[in-house]
Symmetry: C2
Subunit: 861 residues, 2 copies
């Protein structure tokens, strides 16, 4: 099927596209972290505990060990330096190492360099005047002075064949000897943002590496030294442990050997753990208090603790003797670091194989997943995975989690860290405690927020379970009881044998909807290969399944697509289009001709299953409001669903909203009841409920539903529960996330007065894609942008193949997507910035174009 | 039914029982914490940051405010003091307040006292000689010198009608000015254990309170000041933040206003959060660095940050002016503390009502739970709940979680804190990430530990889900596929319509077993009121359900009870007893006559459902090995289950072990396969899998089962998955707990060479209980001690009523149990000390005796 294509690139898109095309996809991304050699971050429990001495000691141990082969390189990076130029840690290493080299009689040649990249105006002037260098104002931009100073030194050794190298760099420097956030604020107006720091650091970490690797196997050790304590603010005010988190470099913690130092060291360690860092060793200066004993006990001997000899009291001491005394400690430390590095790499390399051998992945045909297709996720930071890649060179790259990890994800990096602290707190305060007949703060707060939020105006009870599927099973039990209660199925039930089957209850559901994988939830969906004997021998399909009308964007227009039954009935309506997406949701449509057609279609179907018959009657309506997710990201005409809900409620059939996917801003609103303009009797939540950190589900219900379970007998109560019902961690995560997502202070996407998210997907670009030759339909709503691909001959099988290879390419671009057959989608979080969303969309567009060209070329051959 | 009773109290039990009888149940327990007035703990980010100045400032603000009515009491407790008597923080308050009182022209009278309870020999001698007091060696025991010194002071005010009071106490003192763990080790041999410290503190917190309350509404503020930093070790070496955790007092954090102090303050705050503490305010001395700005930003303005004026440099300064300058800050701090206290109490009071209005508890008839029956759980610490109680006086009491919160719990207090840190770390490192086709460390480590542990020797794949019920549904799908594969049900399935039903598959299961609440899991259990139309209209019971033989202790003997079918067949066996519990598990029984009777009974039943019939054939065996938990804690004869397993495996019927309850040491072994002496094809785990902190479930399978899902089509794969499959937090908790429970270093109950837990329940006492007139049977195995009560006329209804009132009394004794009808049980964790278990058992025994007497009395009337 060939369609006319309109190529109307708006100018600004052309520009962005051009920029993107020029940025080859194989170039490293700003946060790519090389792993071909060890890189460690030096942290400290407090300021002035000797981080730089540890760095210097390591450089000496690494470069000057007589036993080691020369031809090594030690890279020392100091991203943030205050008190400059008086204090310069990179210069300390640059000047100390030659003396140590002479003292150790290092036989090989040694090349040393020290650079300073950017500094504040004050620091720059002070530095230049101290060196009698001229000040060049043109190098001063609004941010920082582009100092780019470099000094070198070379010590010729006896053995001239091998050369070792020390590279020292200070990335950003300020003059005042205060916390970086103060210095930056006072000297550079606080304009050095977090992204600037980590992009510059990333560049330095990758600097010259390609040529290094070409030059052969030179051993490299890289150290990134922080400023102050682990949670000291960086120039933007962000804590350093948060600022550097995207790299998640393994750490060395310089502890405190003084009185009170055990506490400070342990707390610093815990702050690092609370950001997901690994610490491979703790090292501190001896003050005669044997602080190592309680530290080792706390660490259960799993992290080595090393003790450095006491420093000389005299500040004019050149420390040469101290370095001599410390030599063995630094050797041990270096060996620990090298060993931890090689063990880590070995583990990362082995992981795909181990995974393929031990895991049984859900929804996965293992035979179709070769070892090299397994993604090794080293960590996540906000919306991004850090993925270990072992291509030309080992590195850790960033991939945007555009599948939102099975549609669960919401946190940005800040929320993730807040959730981590809350998880630690809640586990320490509660662990898990028994729920029935009890109350504890997280469960109560979560219930309050649910009933004031998504359940506002209709729900009055919260029932907790573990996942969407169990929430649905509970909802069905609630609905059937309510129905039986309303329709006198259960007159005097306690007198009867309750095991007796009264009537055969069915659900009314829509074709293409999906409610979970446990048997009860599966029974509420229409037959499909997923429900067949091969998968679920006990499935029978206990429902009446209606074919719904859907809407989508095609060729820049929103179009209504009617099911065949309706289609034949109302031919004149087959070309209904909408001017905008908003129009689809207008409640004015209730009085349209289409509304009455829908209404009679639904009534007819309900009449076929009227009232109570022993052979089967409809005891519940269950819908996924607005979007059928697993069924292929189909947007159902909300008018149709609204009428369906009202018809059922008129017949006293309880209505269940399955908001497991659609709830909590997934579609741009907290609850889709707001989009549909009607409320259910029962609704189910999961996935984004906890922000995406931990499983929890909730089934909300009206008081009328609840009342049908109240009585004098426990047997009338709802006897369904899971061990971790309303577990404290889940409820705490939910409480935090619910508040975070709807608070304009924390979620900048919220339009407060309208209780909706602003548009995250660029409309022009969406239209562009919907007009693309390879695209069959687009649904963009809230955090979702789904695209059905149209492959040659409308062959869905081919389409999925096409989708799979498209997504493979997109992973190279740093976008992690998963296909749903021939439907692909981008999914962000409620707090994701529209800028990031546009970048994702552009990358997708670029790959569509690329594939299109290849295909056309193939055709023309 | 009247039975002979043998009253043979062994002597040592008599002693324990006597002690227990004397200890009236209404006396406060060692850790009861009064809540009738605010009590706060003062923490500090480091040593020497002015905790005592804050305490003094608060005492002055609370007692000396002219606006406030007098007749107040300020209690200052310093549990741990080093550097004594030179340093005495309690004496500092005792001596400072009179000067401040004069300076403030405080109109009322003021009574002050300062006590010191215990000190080391060195500290005592030094103190006594400084006061010219004689040393009385008889007051010195192996631990500490019972100094019990008290000094008083009284300042008569103008208004003599009202009297305010300052009570200062130092609980334990050592002479050397070092960390308490060092001082205690050097001066008192490290014998002041954690329990000694907190029991003494608990006593001081409750001291004189009854008379206070009688005396009328005197306002009281109590402060407990820690030593050093938050994580500084106490006398035993335990970190203070861990040591004081059972009280979980709300805290004031004294921060650090110096350079580097932001980091130290934040880290200290995080260490407190990681132990479940609430911090209501941060306060620190100004050093001109505006540290409050980043601190407030970090705390998102949710915790107030207060800044004290700089201290005078001159150490001889009497600080009077500084206290004057600080007055407003201390007033604010005091008001924050009083407000936070009243808000907390209000919330705690309201919680039962709110819970009753908003929650929908599972398995609970709400009509039967009045507001006063709702338990408010303020926190948990190891095996204990901290429960808010609002009886005569408000307080927080401890209750041992003897229901193990629906059988999930395993952690002791140490593991709980380790898990909390791991949860924080894992949430920060991973949050949740997509599982299929991916690998990440916690999931891989968890799978490795499962397959090397409970799955050792048979399982080769781990399938993750969210709870026992979903794990069972997955297991059934696996088993049916394997069965269909082995029995050629699915010849050339891809060619067929996979929605077509090939055969009607059933499970073979035992009556009384229970596998979960979702429909698929319910179908595998025999009909009961829980499965009736009222509860689950879709249940049909897709199984062949056999009645199993059970074993239990009665009248000090283990007895076999046969099902009716077998009973009639083999009358001569009806009195089978066992000399010991171990004998029941002997594999030698395989060659007994009983074994062949079992075998033929099973074969007959299988033959009734032979091979493949369209009308229904048995596609899986599912059992709860050894103990039917929810069915009433019945121990099934393991010989019967072993033969059942073997017969099924001979018929190529896949065998599922439902180890959701029984796994991970619940029954004293990691896997009940070790008890049964045979292995399954598939096994399910949940509950204790994560140690009891977070939901996660796993289904393990053999390679042969896995292979029946391998093929070229995704449709042949197992298409069942939940959003949070193998979520990182769950896997991390499981990995930690699996290792913790089986490591003799961390679990002192492990008998390493036998891979079993030592006996946790005192056998004599168990026998005693099994011989009790009110007891019908006892099953004690591993962490479980279940007791079926026998009520008058064997009426189970009466029995449950009896059980309910018994358990109500036991809650007053600090034991939180839940009944299963007329079965009650104590359940501890794998690491619980046998001493604690014996205490629980004794309390239970005492209450049984008490109830028995009442009943006998009623009868005789």
């Amino acid at each position: 099927m060939l369609r006319l294509r309109r190529h109307h690139y708006p100018d600004h898109h052309r520009r962005i596209l051009l920029r993107l095309f020029h940025h080859s996809t194989f170039h490293p991304q700003p946060l790519d972290l090389p792993l071909c050699h060890p890189t460690y971050q030096i942290w400290s429990a407090n300021t002035s505990l000797g981080k730089t001495l540890v760095s210097a000691g390591l450089s000496s141990s690494f470069l000057l060990s007589p036993a080691s082969s020369a031809n090594k390189k030690f890279v020392y990076l100091k991203p943030i330096q205050t008190g400059y130029p008086h204090d310069s840690d990179s210069r300390f290493l640059f000047t100390k190492l030659p003396s140590l080299s002479l003292r150790r009689k290092f036989p090989s040649s040694l090349i040393l360099s020290n650079s300073i990249l950017f500094s504040s105006l004050f620091a720059a002037k002070s530095f230049l005047s101290s060196r009698d260098l001229p000040f060049q104002p043109e190098k001063f931009n609004s941010e920082m002075y582009d100092l780019n100073f470099r000094e070198e030194n070379r010590i010729s050794g006896e053995e001239d064949s091998s050369v070792s190298e020390l590279v020292c760099k200070t990335l950003f420097a300020w003059e005042e000897a205060v916390s970086p956030h103060l210095a930056a604020e006072r000297e550079s107006g606080g304009v050095v943002g977090d992204s600037k720091v980590i992009e510059t650091l990333g560049k330095c970490l990758r600097d010259g590496l390609e040529s290094e690797i070409e030059r052969g196997k030179r051993e490299i050790l890289c150290i990134v030294e922080t400023a102050g304590g682990v949670a000291s603010p960086g120039p933007s005010g962000s804590l350093q442990c948060d600022l550097y988190r995207p790299f998640r470099l393994p750490g060395i913690l310089v502890g405190d050997g003084r009185l009170g130092g055990i506490s400070g060291t342990i707390s610093a360690y815990e702050s690092l753990k609370l950001r997901g860092y690994d610490v491979v060793a703790v090292v501190f200066e001896d003050h005669g208090l044997v602080n190592e004993v309680p530290l080792m006990s706390y660490l259960r001997n799993r992290v080595p603790v090393l003790v450095l000899p006491p420093l000389p009291q005299d500040s004019s001491n050149d420390l040469m003797e101290w370095f001599d005394e410390s030599h063995n400690v630094f050797d041990s430390l270096k060996n620990i670091m090298l060993l931890a590095y090689s063990e880590r790499i070995q583990r990362l390399c082995d992981m795909p194989k181990r995974a393929g051998e031990l895991f049984w992945w859900p929804f996965t045909q293992h035979k179709l997943v070769p070892e090299e297709a397994v993604t090794v996720i080293d960590s996540r930071c906000g919306e991004n995975f850090s993925v270990y890649q072992d291509q030309k060179n080992k590195f850790i790259g960033q991939q945007f989690d555009a599948c939102a990890s099975w549609w669960t994800q919401g946190p940005d990096a800040t929320l993730q860290i807040e959730l981590a602290r809350d998880m630690g707190y809640t586990a320490a305060r509660f662990g898990h405690v028994m729920f029935p007949e009890n109350v504890y703060e997280p469960a109560l707060e979560c219930a309050e927020l649910l009933l004031q939020g998504v359940g506002k105006g209709w729900a009055s009870r919260a029932y907790f379970s573990d996942n969407g599927s169990t929430a649905i099973e509970i909802a069905l039990k609630m609905a059937f009881r309510k129905f039986s209660f309303d329709h006198d199925v259960l007159v005097d039930f306690l007198g009867k044998d309750t095991t007796e089957k009264c009537v055969e209850l069915k659900v009314l559901a829509l074709k293409g909807s999906y409610h979970g994988d446990t048997l009860g939830a599966m029974e509420a969906q229409a037959p499909s290969p997923y429900t067949g004997f091969l998968q679920q021998p006990w499935y029978s399909g206990r429902g009446l399944f209606l074919d719904p009308p859907t809407v989508f964007m095609y060729n820049s227009k929103w179009i209504l697509s009617l099911p065949e039954l309706l289609y034949s009935e109302i031919v004149e309506h087959k070309d209904i289009t909408f001017c905008s997406r908003d129009e689809i949701f207008y409640e004015e449509r209730d009085s349209s001709e289409l509304a009455s057609i829908y209404s009679s279609y639904i009534s007819q179907n309900l009449l076929q299953n009227p009232g109570l018959k022993v052979s089967g009657c409809i005891g519940a309506l269950i819908i996924e409001p607005v979007v059928h997710a697993a069924g292929g990201m189909h947007m159902v005409d909300p008018l149709f669903q609204r009428i369906l809900v009202k018809e059922c409620q008129n017949h006293k059939i309880p209505v269940i909203f399955d908001e497991v996917f659609t709830g909590f801003w997934r579609l741009g609103v907290e609850t889709t009841a707001d989009l549909l303009g009607c409320v259910p009797d029962i609704a189910c939540y999961g996935k984004l409920l906890t922000g995406g950190v931990i499983p929890l589900a909730a089934t909300l219900a009206t008081n009328a539903v609840f009342d049908s379970f109240v009585g004098d007998s426990k047997l009338k109560a709802l006897l369904h529960g899971h061990s971790y019902s309303a577990h404290a961690l889940g409820c705490a995560a939910a409480a935090k996330s619910i508040k975070w997502f709807k608070d304009p202070q924390t979620n900048h996407n919220i339009i407060p007065e309208r209780r909706i998210l602003r548009e995250l997907w660029d409309l022009d670009l969406i239209q562009q894609i919907s007009s693309h030759r390879t695209v069959q339909r687009v649904v963009a709503l809230g955090t979702l942008c789904a695209i059905e691909l149209q492959a040659a001959g409308c062959n869905a099988g081919y389409g999925s193949l096409y989708a799979a290879s498209l997504l493979k390419k997109l992973r190279e671009d740093g976008v992690y997507m998963r296909p749903l057959g021939n439907v692909i989608y981008l999914m962000c979080g409620p707090c994701s910035s529209p800028e990031v969303c546009s970048q994702l969309l552009l990358k997708l567009y670029q790959r569509l174009e690329e594939f299109d060209k290849v295909e056309e070329k193939l055709k023309s051959c």
